[in-house]
């Protein structure tokens, strides 16, 4: 992660213990975030060797990586980083919800890439709890963005109940 970024996990600034590796570089001691392809190729042996693992799910333009492909590895993944290559590419919102609501993933889901002020609340509602943001973002501004809309009409991956349901207890 370049220095111009800051990591916010569950609302608190956190140091990033994870290192991202491309598919050719041998993994060092530190916890490693690797590609889906590498996870599929080497995941079993890395887990057997006691390696702490994370994965990055790429969004792609024509097509993105399928979140369902993570299923065999979920128990051994501490972090799923979801890529938002540009703010317009919103595939990751669906991936996050499927991870939380259908695959029962309880680890860290981290938004990386173009992760801007006006997206944080929606990302958070979809189950993303870690945000790689610009270094000059204050925690106050972050919290303000998360609270920008005080209610939601529909249920999502957060505990908030939709207005259509709240009106009748």
């Amino acid at each position: 992660m370049p220095n111009s970024k800051k990591l916010i996990i569950d609302g608190a600034e956190s140091s990033n213990i994870w290192h991202c590796f491309d598919d050719e570089t041998p993994l060092a001691e530190a916890p490693a975030i690797i590609s889906l392809a590498r996870l599929q190729d080497e995941g079993a042996e890395l887990v057997a060797a006691g390696k702490k693992l994370g994965v990055i799910l790429r969004a792609g333009e024509k097509q993105g990586e399928d979140v369902h492909a993570l299923k065999p590895f979920l128990d051994n993944l501490a972090v799923v980083a979801i890529e938002f290559p540009v703010y317009r590419n919103g595939r990751g919102y669906s991936a996050a919800r499927i991870l939380r609501e259908q695959m029962g993933f309880r680890g860290e889901i981290r938004a990386v890439g173009e992760v801007l002020f006006d997206q944080w609340q929606f990302m958070h509602r979809c189950g993303i709890n870690a945000f790689e943001v610009d270094a000059d973002v204050s925690l106050e501004a972050f919290q303000e963005a998360l609270d920008e809309l005080s209610a939601a009409y529909q249920p999502a991956a957060d505990p908030q109940r939709g207005i259509l349901w709240r009106r009748h207890n």
Partner: protein, 551 residues
């Protein structure tokens, strides 16, 4: 009609303040135009050829008189004294100043209106049948489920950055006035053999440069499962829809490239997951609460015939003609549905001035239980007018030049804003609509021609619905000159079809003559009272083409 509760009010107010902050950050330079663009688009603000344009949502085309008065006020105070009703039952203002838009939105919020999700790659304003709740033989008022969809889709956290915009339309009637088969999702309210009400769901329709009629993905989705089904369609689209080419990003392309059967499987698999959670089943008490807002107004018990109405028709031939073209039978005895044409001869299709809007608002308040509708064909509707009151309504409309008796006729064209406003357009649409209207100004001739839907788009994006015009006209640009390509046989109703291109395009000097040739060809070929579209479907393209390109 639906009224906001404290939640709705609060969210719209918060959104206005959120956008005010975003506009301030843009004006101060903190936000670049590129970063501001998706934010303004989520709030209905476009950058057009000459200025910003604001599109205001009119959910499922229903308005109160108070709301229409506010729209008139905004036209006067923030724009140049008029507004433009669109093919998605919305209204656009062409000249607001960006810095004043937050104030404008705050004024709209006072009357429970907003511009949320009228642009951008999100779920857009839901559209529906303009005769909802007024027409006979409706299975259920489509505005009830439309309102539930409106709420579910508003600020949807997962579906606000879709591959492309997403449009949903609903009809509760066998005769489709909402063009549901030309939408990303089209919903038909149906009754199954057990007598239960549910939804037929069509997916992947659309126009633009690659038009498709939607495929029926589900025959019958039970009432309490619709939101789960919609969420499943949206999720499949959000994950699999293409983002490498904006012209291939709509769900119609995904359905086409994936294949109908495979798409159905993908949606059903996702639906099974969502349905198992039960999280999208709206409580019955909430459905009942929303339903109550759409209960029929307190109609009087009236006889089927009105002596006053019959006499007025006998006395005033103009009135009688307007009744024949613009007035439709109502479900309630003694009432009628009035269509107000926003297509005066030679006028700009869909435009209304502040004064006209106020006059219509008054008519709605006095005569139509305070209700109004906007149609996707860019006209307005007074849905509940007593036969006894028709003459008084007509006289007021005449005063304001709103009584053109041309509904469904050749001069009742749809036209996109075209090169007069839009920075995507290749050609002008509005002046062409005006020229055609002037050429066929003689109403007797229009009546003789009968129902004929002309739809004009200034570019391939097809905002003027040319693919589904009985006669469709598409503006194309060839080396800096405007040309018009003609297609025939399109239709947007329950028998939806895409038009066939006739051949070589016409110049602006020859296009109106070409339309005249097509009309004359039809008149020569038709059997008895066959409509243009029926004749076309019987005889096909060839006889029209031969006449059109004869030397």
């Amino acid at each position: 009609m639906y009224r906001y509760d404290e939640f709705d009010h609060q969210l719209v107010a918060e959104r206005v303040e959120q956008f005010r902050g975003q506009v301030e950050r843009r004006v101060s330079g903190e936000l670049s135009e590129d970063a501001f663009k998706p934010l303004r688009l989520m709030n209905g603000v476009y950058l057009q050829l000459h200025a910003y344009m604001l599109r205001v949502a009119i959910p499922y085309g229903t308005l109160s008189s108070r709301q229409l008065r506010k729209l008139a006020h905004i036209a006067r105070e923030y724009d140049r004294g008029y507004g433009h009703f669109t093919t998605r039952q919305n209204i656009q203002y062409n000249w607001p100043a960006l810095a004043r838009i937050p104030d404008l939105l705050a004024e709209l919020a006072e009357v429970e209106m907003h511009a949320i999700q009228t642009s951008g790659n999100c779920i857009r304003n839901v559209t529906s049948d303009q005769y909802a709740g007024a027409i006979a033989d409706e299975i259920e008022d489509p505005r009830i489920i439309s309102e539930i969809i409106r709420q579910w889709s508003t600020f949807h956290p997962e579906f606000s950055y879709l591959p492309r915009k997403f449009k949903i339309a609903v009809t509760g009637h066998a005769h489709d006035r909402a063009a549901i088969k030309l939408h990303d999702i089209g919903i038909v309210i149906v009754r199954n053999e057990a007598g239960e009400i549910g939804y037929e769901v069509h997916v992947g329709g659309g126009q633009g440069r690659t038009p498709f009629i939607a495929k029926k993905l589900a025959e019958f989705v039970p009432k309490d499962k619709l939101l789960a089904y919609l969420e499943a369609v949206m999720r499949v689209y959000n994950m699999l829809g293409r983002r490498d080419n904006s012209y291939k990003a709509r769900i119609k392309i995904l359905v086409h490239e994936t294949g109908e059967e495979e798409m159905r499987k993908l949606v059903e698999a996702e639906f099974a997951q969502i349905d198992a959670s039960k999280m999208l089943e709206v409580p019955q008490a909430e459905i009942d609460r929303i339903t109550r807002y759409f209960e029929p107004p307190a109609f009087e018990t009236l006889p089927a015939e009105s002596a006053a109405f019959n006499k007025a028709q006998a006395d005033d031939a103009g009135f009688a003609q307007w009744c024949r073209t613009n007035v439709v039978a109502h479900r309630q005895l003694g009432y009628s549905i009035v269509n107000i044409s926003l297509k005066p001869i030679g006028g700009v299709p869909g435009d209304a001035t502040d004064v006209q809007m106020e006059a219509i608002a008054e008519l709605a308040e006095v005569y139509s239980f305070d209700e109004l509708r906007v149609t996707h064909e860019q006209n307005l509707v007074l849905p509940h007018i007593r036969l006894d009151d028709l003459k008084a309504v007509y006289d007021r409309l005449v005063t304001h030049e709103l009584a053109t008796p041309n509904l469904g006729l050749i001069s009742d064209a749809i036209a996109c804003p075209g090169l007069d406003y839009c920075n995507l357009a290749n050609a002008r649409s509005i002046p062409l609509a005006q020229e055609i209207s002037n050429r066929f100004a003689d109403l007797d001739r229009q009546y003789d021609i009968g129902e004929l839907k002309i739809k004009i788009s200034g570019c391939i994006n097809a905002c003027g619905h040319h693919h589904v015009g009985h006669i469709g006209i598409l503006g194309v640009d060839k080396k800096g000159t405007e040309f018009y390509q003609v297609s025939l046989g399109g239709s947007a109703d329950e028998h939806a079809s895409l038009g066939d291109i006739t051949g070589r395009a016409f110049t602006e000097d020859t296009i109106v003559d070409a339309i005249e040739t097509l009309v004359e060809t039809y008149v020569g070929l038709r059997h008895a009272d066959e409509r243009f579209i029926e004749t076309y479907r019987r005889v096909g393209l060839t006889p029209f083409k031969e006449r059109l390109y004869a030397e």
